[in-house]
């Protein structure tokens, strides 16, 4: 496995109309221009196979925006980002889940979105059900799930298509202790196989167990890149 991430001068811009709603650049051109701000700007770094990187910073510093860029959810407005390997992401508690659908139906849909065929997902549904430990709840609508149950399902579904690059955004912090250890075991195994893990959050002891390296973000800029302990020290000093 040769997973990697390389960002060079990466920038993501948010444009707002006069009513402070986020608008696309095309719409910004159509309407009278409002304001703009950069969620990320001039961010450059690279991550090689087997590296676990924690994104550290205050709320609004750009951690989620960076994870979404790596996941291909946000396009770069400036600079470039290249990701090698299949990305599995758990970027919110909802994790792409649809409330009206059952756990099984969500697994089916998100498995195909993740790159599997319907036949492949059908074959792996029992395995996913076991992995989530949701038992009978797996066939109930997701709208009846607790946050922890959603996170369990989201994680199991995210990694079912195979992950070379795993993105975690705070949601793993919503997991109970038992499932947290499952996630930690998975990330360690992924790193050992040459995969990449990028995780953001505020639970530093948990992040430290997953990631040796840290990146400090502040107001959309990269402020520090080094060992996790050094980066957290710098973050706490600022």
């Amino acid at each position: 496995m040769t997973a990697s991430i390389a960002a060079d001068g990466l920038g993501v811009r948010f444009q707002f109309d006069r009513q402070s709603r986020v608008v696309s650049p095309q719409l910004a051109r159509l309407r009278r221009r409002g304001e703009e701000s950069w969620g990320l700007r001039g961010v450059s770094f690279s991550v090689g196979p087997g590296e676990g990187v924690a994104l550290v910073g205050a709320s609004g510093s750009g951690k989620t925006t960076l994870l979404r860029c790596i996941g291909g959810i946000f396009a770069a407005d400036e600079g470039r980002i290249a990701v090698r390997g299949h990305v599995a992401s758990l970027l919110s508690i909802d994790a792409g889940l649809t409330g009206e659908l059952t756990g099984r139906e969500n697994a089916m849909l998100l498995g195909v979105v993740g790159g599997l065929t319907r036949r492949e997902v059908r074959r792996s549904l029992d395995e996913i059900r076991t992995r989530t430990a949701l038992e009978d709840e797996f066939d109930h609508p997701v709208s009846s799930y607790s946050q922890g149950m959603r996170a369990r399902l989201g994680f199991a579904v995210a990694v079912q298509a195979g992950a070379d690059v795993l993105l975690l955004d705070e949601v793993h912090e919503a997991l109970d202790h038992e499932f947290r250890s499952v996630v930690e075991a998975f990330t360690r195994s992924l790193l050992a196989r040459g995969g990449v893990v990028v995780a953001a959050g505020h639970d530093h002891p948990l992040l430290e167990r997953i990631c040796e390296r840290g990146i400090l973000l502040s107001a959309g800029h990269l402020r520090a890149d080094g060992s996790f302990a050094e980066v957290v020290r710098e973050y706490l000093l600022t």
Partner: protein, 272 residues
Amino acid sequence: MAEPAASSGRDGGDRGALPAAVARNVELLAALVASDLRARYGRGRFRMLKWLLDPFALVGVYLLLVTFVLDRPGRAPGVSLACAVIPFQLVMMAVMNGMNSVNLRRSIVLNTPLPRLMIPLSGALTETVAFAASLSLLALMVAVYDVPLTAAVLWLPVVLAVNVLLAIAVAYLASLVGLWFRELRPFMISFVRALFFLAPGLVPLSTIGGRAYDLIRLNPLTGLFEAYRAVVVEGHRPAAWELLYPTAVALLLLAVLLPVYRREARHFAKVV
């Protein structure tokens, strides 16, 4: 301000090959449509029944009113009206679904790099599956009026294909309007409803004369309604313009809108 240079590289492996990409998109569409239908019709034993009865709830009451209560002149007026109301229903539902389609997929858009081009398409195809049940309503009207079907009915799949193509094209337009001008959604619905009345929906085109006849033919729904009437009521193949004009409008819409939609889709996760 000029757009800053930017790029996002993604190693897609052998998925870049065209046949594999087509197969992947077909899988994706099937999964999206299946999940939409499940959310709409449920998963119990009665979902087929609900699917079949939905069109009756939407337009069936109106058609039955015309058929059994109102005494309207003309040849099989109920079937003639169904030939307009039923195809219009697909266009209307594609617009309504399209306007909310990106927001409905918000959770997936924010978490996965789902090919955004599929969103309005899957919505229009979901409505097409729902629309298929409406054909039972058309068959019922044909039976009630005892309209003899001829070999011209073999043209029906072609007419249906044009109807679906038009629905897909307006779904892309609707999804852009729904994202750009959220406050104008009710206006958009009223506009599409107005298009029904600016087409020969209530009466056949042959009963309209003068300048109105030429103007009404500019509406792509006119050709569509008349094509349904030709194959179902009148028993002859549709005139070429009845199929070609709506097809040309749909293709023109897609040619203009798809590049705009593609550019817009890069920013969906920011604006939903």
